[in-house]
């Protein structure tokens, strides 16, 4: 995260403008710590700038996912009846359409662009969040404190947002962190098929797949973004596990 | 084998849980003994260490975070704490067995009742599957489950709570153990079912002549089942005696408080609604026990000494005794100059 924010200060070169074809495909050296890519751009700088794109792809699209998933899941779980059936039907459909295919179709439809990548990924993966939110809502809805709120004359919307949502935020957050990792990887797959973030903007997935043919001739070009993805995914997974522990009422009550 | 044969001797048992917040001395120096054919009741409030005591005897404390840090558990003279895992495993379910509070979750949902009882015979008696099944049906019949052949092949979720608890009992008694530890066996059950189970246990005890360690927080159950009673508070035994003694002449203020806190059915009709006696305050956290006697902040009879020093048991195991300064001669030097002991309000 920090790396992403401070990219301009950390990166030794500009990821796009400092391209120099004369030094393309240079292996790592003192000047270019991670080597250069086929366009003669500093891989280190691109990895650092790529963090911005990849993380924002992950975060923003996951934000979309989470909002869609939570709103639908919460309302479905809470209001039930035909609305629940409808939302669950939709969720099941989304769940069964392969996410890559759906993202692919959305991308092809909306055309290229960073924002569209956010949107495509953001529209794709909400079904899981939605299911979890709904099932959590169903559990939370039957908690005594929710009944108490009803007895105290709270309106449904108020109960939904003040009583239910804060209590199911934990699992949702955990899914969201894992989803960020998923989105980063999905963007990489989209890039593989040529529909990811627009060049020359560096994204890890894009760098990785752009350099896949050079895996054996110039391994540094793809290894470093690969490692960056690995570390991020690992970090997010650990963060997810950590959040799970922190937000688990069992552990937190024991603390008290 | 005489009536007074000593089966189990627990001596200064210490079981602690190690967590980030500190060490919880869940069981802190518990001593008692158990004779063949006897039912020993273990009462106390939630979290006072009853289950941990039982699990320590079975050596089933989750580790980490738990650990038995001291004491001895002599079973027929051998120290269970010194046995190898393998040897201990052979004792479990065979010589000492245990039933748990939650009959709903204590049975594996994916195996039939017979399957789960069979295991005991296969494990401890090396029976083949067929013979084990026969034996299983036999014990199921013993615990008065109707149509045992049919029920044996059913899954736990197909049985009612009471039946599941019977199945648990059948499983525990399968190998005719010397000691049966029952950890709140009826708490999760309805009153009428509870009566059935208590009745059953009493009958089976006669038949098997096992010793029972009966854990409960319901004094009524104790009154009906136990010959002797241990009262625990915050990880320690605070009073021991025969049931009669405990009910008629409780030594420890905590025991007295318990007795008076429960409404007795029918008493209102005869004596009118007398205010129930409360034990003020809350059960202390194990991480943060008060100095001196752990009960003193809630004790109506507490005095200076209680706040400074923890009282030990007033006598050796086996007689009516309590861990209270009121029930025993106080240490000489303090007794002589009680005024010198400063009252420290901060001890609270």
């Amino acid at each position: 995260m920090l790396i992403a924010v401070f990219a301009p200060f950390l990166a030794p070169f500009h990821p796009v403008d400092d391209a120099d074809l004369m030094v393309s495909d240079e292996p790592p050296s003192m000047e270019y710590l991670f080597g250069t890519d086929n366009q003669g751009r500093d891989v280190l700088s691109r990895v650092i700038y790529g963090a911005r794109i990849s993380l924002s792809v992950g975060l923003i699209s996951q934000l979309f996912n989470t909002i869609i998933g939570v709103v639908l899941g919460l309302s479905a779980g809470f209001f039930g009846k035909w609305w629940d059936d409808l939302v669950m039907g939709l969720t099941n459909i989304m769940l069964s359409i392969p996410s890559l295919i759906f993202a692919l179709a959305v991308m092809a439809l909306m055309g290229p662009g960073l924002f569209n990548v956010f949107l495509a990924l953001g529209l794709t993966n909400w079904s899981y969040t939605c299911r979890i939110t709904r099932s959590q809502t169903l559990t939370a809805r039957n908690q005594d404190y929710v009944k108490a709120a009803t007895a105290l004359g709270y309106s449904k919307i108020r109960i939904m947002f003040t009583q239910v949502l804060p209590n199911i935020a934990g699992p949702i957050l955990v899914i969201a962190t894992l989803g960020v990792a998923g989105a980063i990887l999905l963007e990489a797959s989209l890039s593989f098929l040529g529909l990811g973030v627009q060049p020359p903007t560096p994204s890890w997935g894009g760098m990785l797949s752009a350099a896949r043919e050079q895996l054996f001739t110039a391994p540094w070009i793809s290894i470093f973004p690969g490692v960056a993805i690995f570390i991020t995914v690992l970090g997010l997974n650990l963060l997810g596990d950590g959040l799970r522990d922190i937000l688990d009422p069992h552990t937190s009550t024991q603390r008290g | 084998m005489t009536e007074t044969e000593l089966l189990l001797e627990v001596d200064n048992l210490q079981t602690h849980f190690f967590s980030f917040d500190g060490v919880a001395k869940a069981v802190d120096g518990v001593s008692f003994n158990l004779k063949r054919g006897e039912t020993l009741g273990l009462v106390g409030e939630s979290g006072c260490g009853k289950s941990v005591t039982a699990l320590s005897i079975m050596r089933l404390i989750q580790s980490p975070p738990g650990k038995i840090t001291g004491g001895r558990i002599l079973f027929n003279g051998t120290d269970l704490l010194k046995l190898s895992n393998e040897k201990m495993r052979r004792i479990r379910g065979d010589r000492i067995s245990m039933i748990f509070q939650e009959p709903m979750t204590s049975l594996n949902p994916v195996y039939t009742i017979a399957d789960q009882i069979k295991e005991v015979f296969v494990n401890h008696r090396n029976l083949d599957k067929k013979a084990a099944f026969k034996k299983a049906v036999e014990v199921i019949r013993k615990v008065h489950i109707p149509s045992p052949d049919k029920r044996a092949e059913e899954y736990p979720h197909q049985l009612s709570g009471g039946m599941r608890q019977r199945a648990m009992i059948a499983m525990a008694l399968a190998c005719n153990p010397d000691i049966l530890i029952a950890d709140e066996p009826t708490t999760a059950l309805d009153v009428s079912i509870q009566a059935q189970i208590i009745d059953l246990m009493l009958k089976l005890k006669e038949e098997f002549n096992a010793a029972i360690l009966m854990i409960t927080h319901d004094l009524g159950v104790i009154a009906e089942m136990a010959q002797r009673v241990l009262v625990m508070y915050a990880g320690r035994v605070v009073e021991e005696g025969t049931t009669q003694e405990i009910f008629d002449n409780p030594l420890h203020p905590y025991t007295r408080g318990l007795m008076n806190a429960v409404p007795v059915i029918g008493r209102r009709a005869t004596e009118g609604r007398k205010r129930l006696q409360e034990i003020p305050g809350v059960v202390p956290s194990l991480f943060d026990l008060p100095k001196g006697c752990a009960f003193h902040p809630r004790c109506p009879e507490a005095f200076d000494l209680c706040r400074k020093m923890r009282p030990d048991m007033s006598a050796e195991p086996g007689v009516h005794r309590a861990a209270c300064w009121l029930a025993q001669p106080r240490p000489g030097e303090i007794q002589s100059c009680p005024a010198e002991a400063p009252v420290s309000g901060e001890a609270l």
């Binding site: 005594d144 009550t253 | 409404p263």
Partner: protein, 317 residues
């Protein structure tokens, strides 16, 4: 004050993705009672007999399948939204489980304050004062209002639950097993608190419990439920001295004795409580009844008055 007439609550049993209704749970199957001002009514019965459901339907947390709940003569079903909200100020509920009945993400001050703000009972400084007042009333200190529920013990939480029920100054409080989850030593504190509050505020209680001793101690009149029906209703004295329904008798005898010297003759019931999905024909207690007669299998006994204020539904009388 509060009158429940032939209350029935049936839950549909749904199955499969098509949610076909395959049966009904007769959770509450015709319950009648009346609650007078300042009175305490007890409801006892075994697990699953419909006590909670009755309570929930009474304060309109559940919609009855049929029957009426009248509050001060007005049928609740006929009230509009605003009137229902106002009804909240009249009737409140205390839950059994002190752990799940408080929102774990809210501090106590909000738990107690929000409803009052919502109903415009108090705001600003006045609100804080009232929260402090309530805290003290239930035996907690005002300073503790800044804490989260998990920082309290079970007994203290139950006190908060009671304080919350009092926020809107209700006249009737329904206690759904308010002490069952508590330790013996804490139970007495809460029981005493309930009695004190009743005296002070002139409350009427409906206390739901399965512990006969507690109910007898707290309540003026007691209804014994079995499988969704009230089988016996009487005052506390009669309940102990002359229980009439065989089920009540068995229930009483099943209560463990209070002293090793008290010898009890137990009436052991056979079998388990039948499922409310297919209640037995006739008297629903007949399969377990030690005194069953032929008629019990076929005819459902009507509730009969067998003495002043003592009603029972049994063919023996």
């Amino acid at each position: 004050m509060l009158k429940v007439e032939d209350l029935k609550v049936h839950f549909p049993i749904k199955k499969g993705l098509l949610s076909k209704t395959v049966g009904k749970v007769h959770a509450v199957d015709g319950v009648n009672f009346e609650l007078k001002a300042g009175e305490t009514l007890g409801i006892v019965g075994e697990s699953g007999c419909g006590k909670t459901t009755t309570g929930m339907a009474t304060i309109n947390l559940l919609k009855p399948t049929s029957g009426r709940v009248l509050y001060q003569g007005r049928d609740m079903a006929s009230l509009d939204k605003q009137e229902l909200r106002d009804l909240c100020k009249e009737m409140q509920i205390i839950f059994q489980d002190p752990y799940s009945s408080l929102n774990p993400r809210m501090v106590v001050r909000r738990i107690l304050g929000d409803p009052m703000r919502l109903h415009g009972i108090a705001r600003g400084k006045e609100l804080d004062e009232r929260v402090d007042y309530l805290m003290e009333k239930v035996g907690l200190t005002p300073e503790q209002a800044g804490r989260y529920p998990h920082e309290f013990s079970g007994g203290q939480r139950q006190r908060i639950g009671i304080a919350r029920a009092l926020t809107l100054k209700p006249k009737v409080i329904i206690g759904d097993e308010p002490v069952s989850a508590l330790d013996v030593s804490i139970q007495a504190q809460i029981v005493n608190l309930l009695i004190d509050l009743q005296k002070e505020f002139g409350l009427s209680y409906v206390i739901i419990a399965h512990d006969l001793a507690v109910v007898e101690y707290l309540c003026d009149r007691i209804a014994v439920m079995y499988l969704g029906k009230v089988v016996e209703m009487t005052d506390y004295k009669n309940l102990y001295t002359c229980p009439k329904h065989p089920y009540t008798q068995a229930l009483l005898s099943a209560v463990p004795s209070s002293h090793p010297n008290v010898e009890k003759t137990r009436i052991l019931l056979e079998g388990d409580v039948p499922s409310p999905i297919n209640p037995p024909s006739g008297c629903s207690f007949h399969p377990r009844c030690p005194k069953r007669m032929e008629i019990c299998e076929k005819v459902r006994p009507e509730i009969k008055e067998t003495g002043t204020g003592h009603t029972v539904a049994c063919h023996l009388y």
